[in-house]
């Protein structure tokens, strides 16, 4: 699944570790999501959506 997580994170000057910290997951998970290797669960997608104050469909494009 394509997503704009990397761009959103960069726009807010956050590192992968910062984002992982905010979402309570490992940095490996953030990296895998950004590279499109791993699709997050709905609860994690909602957490990402809330953090960036954007709708899920604006971040993740199936």
């Amino acid at each position: 699944m394509e997503n704009s997580l990397k761009q959103l994170r960069a726009a807010r000057k956050l590192t992968q570790a910062d984002l992982a910290a905010a979402l309570a997951v490992s940095r490996q998970t953030i990296n895998a999501i950004e590279k499109g290797k791993f699709d997050p669960s709905l609860p994690l997608a909602f957490k990402i959506s809330r953090l960036f104050e954007m709708p899920i469909e604006a971040i993740f494009k199936g």
Binding site: A22, V25, Q28, F38
Partner: protein, 134 residues
């Protein structure tokens, strides 16, 4: 770093340490069980057996807590590794029995071979899983 992440990281660290300790305890209790001579001290052997079972149950509980404490990607890696290991175990078991019955394997070989195969398979599958999502 926010409190949620601190809690999550602390929980992961704590779960990992508890799993390592419980595994070591189980291993020690297993060594004790094998060290005691059954014929000379059956009473002690029963105590050692009880300790081994109790340590085993504790290790299973700690392993479950450890898995539940992982994030969703780490849980997926573990699930894939456990699925692969179960499959390898299921395939290897009848092969080992057949080879033993046919006399192809040495008489001394026993089911500990299966444990070694499954352990190596699990280790390899976890490493491959981490490489896959790197």
């Amino acid at each position: 770093m926010n409190p949620t992440q601190e809690n999550w990281q602390a929980l992961q660290k704590s779960n990992t340490i508890k799993l390592a300790v419980s595994t070591s305890l189980w291993l020690l209790s297993f060594a004790l069980l094998n060290f005691i001579n059954w014929n000379n001290s059956p009473g002690l052997k029963w105590i050692a057996l009880g300790l081994n079972v109790a340590a085993g149950v504790y290790m299973i509980m700690r392993n479950r807590a450890h898995l539940l404490g992982l994030d969703e990607l780490q849980q997926r890696i573990q699930l894939n590794a456990m699925g692969t290991t179960l499959g390898v175990g299921l395939i290897s078991f009848p092969i080992l029995i057949t080879l033993n019955q046919a006399g192809v394997l040495a008489q001394e070989s026993d089911l500990t071979v299966l444990l070694v195969v499954m352990s190596l398979c699990y280790l390899g599958a976890v490493l491959l899983g981490h490489l896959r999502y790197k």
